[in-house]
């Protein structure tokens, strides 16, 4: 059975009057609250990428900048991680999510003001966290790096986001639930639960230390592999049919993928950890292997969608981001399942391979989908084309090539390092050094990725300026701005 994304009438300045809000009106009403968080999110991404670039260069020249404690490798990496996950992925992911909710439900965002306050609090939280990590006040826990002081602004900020999203969801005038909505709803419900649990147990300090790795690992895995992943899945299910101008190939596969991922994925995250109870590790190995099913179901669904009905109509340009993201997603599923098996973990455990896998999911799938979605949504918000055409394609190419270079050589290097480490007669240094030529390739990848995101940020600023002139310049007051469409 195939379903199609409800297609609104194409954006025109004076849309024909209709009982439901038109798409362009929806976009126009959402422009200000969404543009703000898109700018902030890309700003964080640029900053995080620059930190990652410095860290990566330092691997080859460890003495570089070593006199600054804030720029030591062990602080740059958690700072980059936090900024990417909380500043960029969560923020842009929620922005895209509410845009999809309001677009599919054909309604304006309910409570833009609360949304703005939420965004402000969230960014304040990330900023405090970022400064704290660089000054050494971080938790030491992966993906839960920010100190206790950030918990309140982040949680209250998120609650405002979540309430606005649910109110907007409730106010929808189109009652049908397109698959994207399920994924987004799952994310929105999941995050406060895991974040409240983790904050309470890990920040309060009364939890016995022997339980900390399990709780923090559970949180970190659920945050990325359920919350952020579902935001990215929701966006993929919306944009792939939309940009390829074809109906979704199978709703059944989407249902299967949705539920099986929700049941199986939350038990992952410990396949490459050893000092936790055996049953936790065992369940994670099973989870990583079983996750292959929903991952392949989703990837296949998108592939079938794009493939069907021959070559016409031609898909829009932005589809490239999503196709490469789908490729990274499928590859991640296969490699994660492979690496989880104890015989393979013997080789790739504790190596760069683990870093490569994480980045394949975080940058290759989640990051790429969100960037692709952003490049489609922003022109709709401002109702203007991207002003600098020469930047559109280079951003796509540099981002994709950058991400592939950031991940694939790291996986390869990790595997080579692991084969050396598995043999105790090979000295540690010798085995480690074998990975470094591959790691150098990933440094180039991060450089390309960073350049692309700087270009995107500049582009957003130029776009904002242009939209401002269009909307607020006296000359435009005579033009068509009904319903704040400009």
């Amino acid at each position: 059975m195939s379903v199609s994304v409800p297609t609104p009438s194409l954006d025109t300045c004076a849309a024909a009057p209709s009982p439901a809000t038109s798409a362009s009106e929806v976009d126009a009403s959402n422009a200000i609250p969404l543009y703000g968080i898109f700018m902030a999110g890309i700003g964080w991404l640029v900053l995080g990428s620059i930190l990652g670039l410095i860290a990566s260069v330092k691997l080859h020249a460890p003495a570089l900048l070593s006199q600054f404690p804030a720029l030591t490798y062990g602080r740059l990496i958690p700072a980059q991680n936090t900024i990417f996950l909380y500043g960029f992925a969560m923020q842009i992911g929620l922005g895209i999510a509410i845009w999809i909710i309001s677009r599919l439900g054909r309604t304006k965002i309910v409570g833009s003001f609360a949304w703005g306050i939420g965004a402000l609090l969230w960014n304040v939280g990330v900023f405090i966290g970022f400064i704290s990590i660089l000054s050494g006040d971080w938790t030491g826990l992966n993906r839960f790096e920010m100190p206790a002081a950030t918990a309140t602004p982040l949680f209250v900020g998120y609650l405002l986001f979540g309430i606005v999203a649910l109110l907007t969801f409730k106010a929808r005038t189109v009652r049908d639930l397109y698959p994207s909505m399920w994924f987004i709803l799952a994310s929105i419900f999941w995050f406060p639960w895991i974040y409240a649990t983790a904050s309470y147990l890990l920040h309060s300090g009364f939890l016995r230390s022997s339980a900390i790795p399990v709780i923090s690992g559970w949180y970190g895995h659920n945050f990325v592999s359920v919350v952020l992943l579902n935001l990215a899945l929701g966006a993929s299910y919306y944009f792939i049919p939309k940009l390829s101008h074809r109906p979704l190939a199978s709703e059944g596969l989407a249902i299967f993928g949705f539920w099986s991922l929700l049941v199986v994925a939350p038990f992952g995250g410990f396949a490459a950890t050893y000092a936790v109870p055996r049953w936790v590790i065992g369940m994670s190995v099973v989870s990583s292997v079983l996750c292959l099913l929903p991952i392949l179901a989703h990837s296949l669904n998108w592939y079938q969608t794009v493939r069907q009905a021959g070559k016409s109509p031609k898909p829009d340009q932005g589809i490239g981001y999503f196709l490469w993201a789908g490729f990274c997603f499928a590859l991640f599923g296969i490699l994660a399942a492979w690496a989880a098996l104890p015989t393979n973990n013997l080789i790739v455990g504790f190596t760069w391979f683990q870093t490569g896998l994480t980045q394949l999911l975080e940058y290759g799938f989640i990051g790429l989908v969100l960037l692709g979605a952003l490049t489609v949504v922003v022109p709709k918000l401002t109702q203007l084309d991207w002003p600098i055409h020469r930047l559109v394609k280079p951003h796509y190419l540099l981002t994709v090539i950058g991400i592939l270079l950031m991940t694939l050589p790291v996986l390869m290097g990790g595997w080579i390092q692991g084969t050396g480490l598995a043999d105790a007669s090979v000295p540690f240094m010798v085995a480690s050094k074998k990975a470094f030529p591959w790691i150098a390739m990933s440094t180039v990848g991060i450089l390309l990725f960073t350049l692309a995101q700087i270009a995107l940020f500049v582009h957003l600023v130029v776009m904002l300026g242009k939209a401002f002139i269009n909307c607020c310049h006296p000359a435009s007051w005579m033009g068509c701005d009904k319903g704040g469409a400009r």
Partner: protein, 224 residues
């Protein structure tokens, strides 16, 4: 799937399942853990770290040493850790009962440190290693930590604590490099990293001996 409430109930159910499995149950099981009495020495294990080492743990956490160094030893069947001399047995939850937070780590850009104190033979050398890793390990990719040290003018009498640096790593003439208290506490922490005791859940196999077992039921002397 057009039923909002049904989807909500489903999501809530899956979430609860994972919460029960990986939060509620581990908190009940591991949250009760306490030091155990060792069979051989009757001492409690683990013991809380001495104050200086505790401060060192904070330096370790703040500078993100966990980004490159793990603190978990794998079983012989899972990797070469034992063969590399990184530990005599698998690391278990009991080992990090007093670490807040435990710094297990995920990637080994540097070697595992779960039992590093058993390999720290020369503490002065280890301080040099923190100040300038490449002065000790050729081609090391560990960053130097000069901010844990103070470069100062040599006073009337040179400091006894000054690092014995040579070649490219030596300070300019008339100056000496002296560890700050942070460097000493980090060193104290590293010296406290040791988990080579036999536990019920992670026994260390006793080395085979040539002794002939006691013959039960006779008073005959044991023949060596």
């Amino acid at each position: 799937m057009n039923q909002g409430p049904l989807i909500f109930v489903g999501i809530f159910f899956t979430m609860t399942l994972s919460w029960y499995g990986f939060v509620f149950k581990p908190t009940l099981d591991l949250g009760q853990q306490a030091p155990v009495k060792l069979e051989e020495t009757s001492q409690l294990y683990p013991a809380a770290r001495p104050g200086l080492a505790q401060q060192g743990a904070e330096i370790y956490r703040a500078n993100g040493c966990v980004t490159c160094h793990s603190q978990q030893v794998r079983d012989a069947k899972d990797g070469s850790d034992k063969a590399r001399g990184w530990g005599a047995r698998l690391t278990v939850a009991q080992d990090y009962l007093f670490d807040h937070p435990p710094q297990l780590g995920q990637v080994r850009i540097g070697p595992d440190l779960a039992n590093v104190s058993t390999r720290l033979f020369d503490l002065k050398n280890q301080l040099i290693h923190l100040y300038a890793p490449r002065a000790v390990v050729k081609g090391s990719s560990m960053p130097p930590y000069p901010f844990l040290f103070e470069v100062r003018k040599i006073g009337p009498t040179p400091s006894a604590d000054a690092l014995a640096l040579t070649g490219a790593y030596a300070p300019t003439a008339g100056f000496e490099v002296v560890p700050k208290s942070e460097a000493y506490s980090l060193l104290a922490y590293l010296s406290s990293l040791r988990s080579e005791v036999s536990l019920y859940e992670a026994p260390i196999p006793k080395p085979p001996t040539n002794a002939v077992g006691t013959v039960v039921g006779t008073n005959a002397p044991i023949v060596q």
